[in-house]
């Protein structure tokens, strides 16, 4: 199949009658870049989920922000409207409330404005004039800053498997079925000293535990991740220059 003729419309001279063919070619140029309707989506349909330059970040205290970047302004199609911010967009204060939950973040198009605002809901279902753009975790008191996540941002996304924190001690084996359907490409094991670390608490990466000397402590396959603590008292769950531990809590995260 040959490429569409684009533009199919041509210039007309003042006073020259405009034939229906000319009008239809002009319309085809505008809607499908010259392609026959059966061969292409319209530009409006094509860009219906367009989003660019929208990257959520944590904003103290307990808010989120889409920062404005001159070279890549936040732009998002909402309900068929081309919305583009001209300044940073902040979620209003005191938007989070209630018990611990994942909150979904929406860009809202507002009549009379070419920009957008932010709002949140515990339901991910988009309403009229809303576009779901990300999420964050509210622990009942605070937003976990590291949980603020933008769906459209390329790069390391949310883990495909997350064990949550679990209590650990020396000389144990912890096996987790990750349900990824394949061996994970990346596995991270984190150590916390508290069952509910807040966003400012230091988490230690666990690559090594002690069995009187340091050894790696994880393996995985297409079904399970196996994390084993070491046998040396006080050094079996974390052997990191930042922290030694034979207790505390682990959290396994995996990406496919």
């Amino acid at each position: 199949m040959s490429a569409p003729v684009y533009p199919a419309s041509v210039d007309v001279s003042p006073g020259q009658p405009t034939a229906s063919t000319q009008y239809n070619n002009l319309r085809k140029d505008a809607l499908t870049l010259g392609a026959a309707p059966a061969d292409a989506r319209t530009l409006g349909q094509f860009f219906i989920r367009y989003i660019s330059g929208v990257r959520l970040e944590y904003l103290a205290t307990n808010r989120v922000r889409v920062p404005y970047v001159t070279t890549n302004p936040p732009s998002v199609m909402v309900n068929g409207y081309l919305c583009q911010a001209t300044a940073s967009v902040d979620l209003p204060a005191s938007s989070f409330s209630g018990g611990a939950a994942t909150w979904y973040i929406f860009a809202r198009r507002n009549a009379g404005s070419a920009s957008f605002t932010l709002e949140i809901n515990t339901s991910p279902v988009e309403g009229t004039d809303q576009r779901l753009i990300g999420q964050s975790y509210w622990d009942g008191s605070n937003v976990n800053a590291s949980s603020v996540y933008t769906y459209a941002v390329q790069g390391l996304g949310l883990p495909d498997y997350d064990s949550g924190f679990f209590a650990v001690a020396d000389s144990n084996t912890y096996t987790k079925a990750h349900n990824l359907g394949q061996a994970p490409r990346l596995v991270v094991l984190l150590h916390a000293t508290s069952s509910t670390p807040n966003s400012n608490d230091e988490l230690a990466l666990v690559n090594t535990v002690s069995i009187s000397y340091g050894v790696s402590n994880m393996s995985w396959n297409a079904t399970n991740i196996i994390a084993q603590s070491g046998t040396t008292a006080g050094y079996g769950t974390c052997l990191n220059i930042r922290r030694y531990s034979g207790s505390g809590y682990w959290r396994l995260q995996a990406w496919k």
């Binding site: 064990s163 209590a167 069952s195 034979g246």
Partner: protein, 131 residues
Amino acid sequence: MAYFIRTASGEIKTYMEAPAGTVLETGETWEETPLTFEAFSNRLRLSVDGVGGELVQVPTGSGMAHVQVDCPGESSVMLDINGLVEGIPLVNGKGTLALSSELPGTYVITPADRKKFCAAGESLCVVEVSE
């Protein structure tokens, strides 16, 4: 709600905020508690100078190391210190265990009743007395 695993001998091996694919070993069983993960964790916490969940190192000859015992709702708790069981009286759920730092060595302090408390998380305290 929190979830915990008992070993074949009835001891609590670990507990977690979500089951999340946890695979049981032979003889292990699942149990659920209406307590939150945080509340279940806070049933027994051991710390030294506010530090829990990690190794505490103290120099030899630095006096007594004091382990704070936090066990809400209990008037006493039995702790296992390197295999020796000692009762710790509690006032308003709080008490102290004093450890000598005269000689180098390692103290491993765990709940004596491992069917009630889990010897992991913050209920396990390791104090290393080093030269």
